[in-house]
Amino acid sequence: MAIDNEMVKQVAFLARLKVEDDKIEETKDEFNKILNWIEQLKEVDTSDIMPLVSVNDSSIPMREDTITDGNVKEAVLKNAPMQEFGYFAVPKVVE
């Protein structure tokens, strides 16, 4: 799969990264180099192999269902750029 300039803009938007117009061409080439390199992996036959989702394939550690956290409202809100009435305040978002 080859990446074109539109795809670069789309990926940048989804990641909320600002890519200047004069950097798009260069980024596109970088992307394609990485993808070509990854393409090599396709040479290995993996048809009978389950995808390895984690190198740490031991089972997940779990906790008991007890309340051990929370009640730190002030600390949670402390670094908020904007807070009002105990809420995080953000520029209006309406779907």
Partner: protein
């Protein structure tokens, strides 16, 4: 029952599937130790994990896993011994990490099936595609400030089960029956409280239409966040009609997301699916895969309670109830338990009649729940026995019920105190009859001359004279003899 939308030209069929988000009942959140309590002050039940602070790591809550497995078993579904958490990436203020931890290719529960019963007496099986577990988002408040939205993270990180069905629904009624059945199952299991109006169970419906007989599926619209069974049925019906209208006018449907408007009952356009977010799912690096053992699943199976379908079949078999009565009595576990407690050692069919009749009527009239009922299961059981043993008549029993409702006591005590005991002593009944006949010589003569419909008058007089206490059957027999 075949449901179609008929127009002048065509007959259309609905194809619908549902996605239901159920909040898991657990004390703490799925990946943090903060409380799941609803209704507390904003941002109180929030840990640094829920707030998406850098460096915080999620730790899976055992109980949420167990609740999802239980629900899967309750929906007759495959439990996957290997499942994987994934990141679903999107930026929105209700999700501080910029991603939601969910499951994607490897959900904890796979294919299952749920039987629904329809009003025409038929049943249908609805396929379950999967259930995956994930974290809920924060709650946004948009109406406090014209320029700002306020975010409360108390709900962020509460465990959710997303239950996805096959596109098996062909009518609004089927979808309604399924939602009620699902709600009843999760409530029996204690895995979700099922309160759609409070948002602890939320439903999205994917709706398309096609000409009757057509095999392929057409483009669908997804209707978001429909928060009652009634609204879900309304949304499906109206969205299907809207699509039919467009097709008949020569138009096409594009895949899109729509919103249900509670005031009009209609759906309105939200966004086209082609602009839908590209979620770029990938395996969650902070959580290794989840492995379950056969032993673990077997142990949960042993803890399973009897579910509505099984209970219903048993009620029909053991208590000779009609399917309809058994259905109502098993909709909630509380009602079913109340019935069984009342029916224990008594005539189940009659007990059911009292519960579904007088008791429910009084509860409804007084806006009370079964838990608030002044009348206990034992009272109903004893009342049924008093009638069966001819201690009181069915008519007097109605009065006893009213006394019981107002002043809760065992029926035998009420009968005793109020002297309602039915007279079954032949001599005593004869004496009353004799006096009634003596007081009405004209009517006796008329009856003997052939006016036989006066019989009812005599019965009425005798019952009145005995204050309703005489056994009606005996009154009939003796009266017949006396009048020759």
């Amino acid at each position: 029952m075949t449901y179609t939308i008929k127009t002048e030209k065509n007959e259309w069929e609905i194809v619908c599937g549902l996605e239901i988000h159920c909040q898991i009942i657990s004390k703490s959140k799925i990946f943090s130790g903060a409380s799941t309590e609803f209704g507390d002050d904003a941002n109180v039940n929030v840990s640094f994990i829920d707030a998406g602070m850098p460096g915080m790591l999620p730790v899976l809550n055992k109980e949420c896993v167990k609740q999802a497995v239980k629900t899967g078993l309750g929906l007759n579904a495959q439990i996957n011994k290997h499942s994987v958490f994934s990141r679903k990436n999107y930026f929105y203020p209700d999700q501080p990490n910029g991603y939601q931890i969910t499951q994607y290719e490897y959900p904890i529960v796979g294919k299952g099936a749920v039987k629904i019963d329809l009003s025409d007496g038929t049943s249908k099986e609805i396929g379950i595609t999967r259930i995956h577990i994930e974290q809920d988002a924060a709650k946004s408040i948009h109406d406090l400030n014209p320029k700002k939205s306020y975010i409360d993270f108390n709900r962020a990180g509460v465990g959710l089960m997303e239950i996805v069905t096959e596109p098996d629904f062909r009518s609004p009624e089927e979808a309604g029956a399924f939602l009620r059945k699902l709600r009843s199952i999760v409530r029996y299991l204690g895995t979700c409280d099922g309160n759609m109006d409070e948002g602890s169970m939320r439903c999205d419906a994917s709706i398309s239409v096609r000409l009757k007989g057509e095999q392929k599926m057409r483009e669908r619209a997804e209707v978001k966040n429909v928060n009652s069974v009634k609204f879900a049925m309304q949304a499906i019906e109206n969205e299907a009609k809207r699509q039919v209208e467009i097709y008949e006018q020569g138009g096409t449907i594009e895949q899109q997301t729509r919103q249900f408007d509670q005031t009009t009952g209609q759906t309105k356009f939200l966004r086209l699916k082609e602009y839908a977010d590209d979620y770029r799912y990938f395996p969650e690096p902070d959580l290794p895969p989840l492995y379950l053992t056969d032993e673990y699943i077997e142990n949960i199976k042993k803890e399973m309670v009897e579910l509505p379908d099984a209970k219903k079949d048993r009620f029909i078999k053991d208590y000779a109830l009609t399917a309809y009565d058994a259905d109502i009595l098993t909709e909630s576990r509380q009602t079913a338990d109340f019935f069984e407690q009342a029916a224990k050692g008594h005539d189940g069919k009659k007990v059911a009649n009292w519960i579904l009749g007088d008791l429910f009527a009084n509860l409804n009239a007084n806006k009370l729940t079964l838990e608030q009922s002044p009348i206990t299961p034992e009272m109903i059981g004893e009342l049924v026995d008093l009638i069966a043993k001819n201690v009181i008549s069915g008519k007097i029993a109605k009065d006893v019920f009213v006394y019981m409702w107002e002043n809760p006591k065992m029926p035998s005590q009420i009968v005793e105190e109020k002297g309602l005991k039915q007279v079954t002593d032949t001599g005593a009944i004869e004496a009353v009859i004799d006096s009634v006949l003596a007081q009405n010589p004209d009517n006796v003569a008329a009856y003997k001359a052939g006016k036989v419909n006066l019989f009812g008058f005599f019965v009425g007089q005798v019952m009145k004279a005995s204050k309703g206490a005489a056994n009606p059957q005996m009154v009939n027999e003796i009266l017949k003899k006396k009048l020759g």
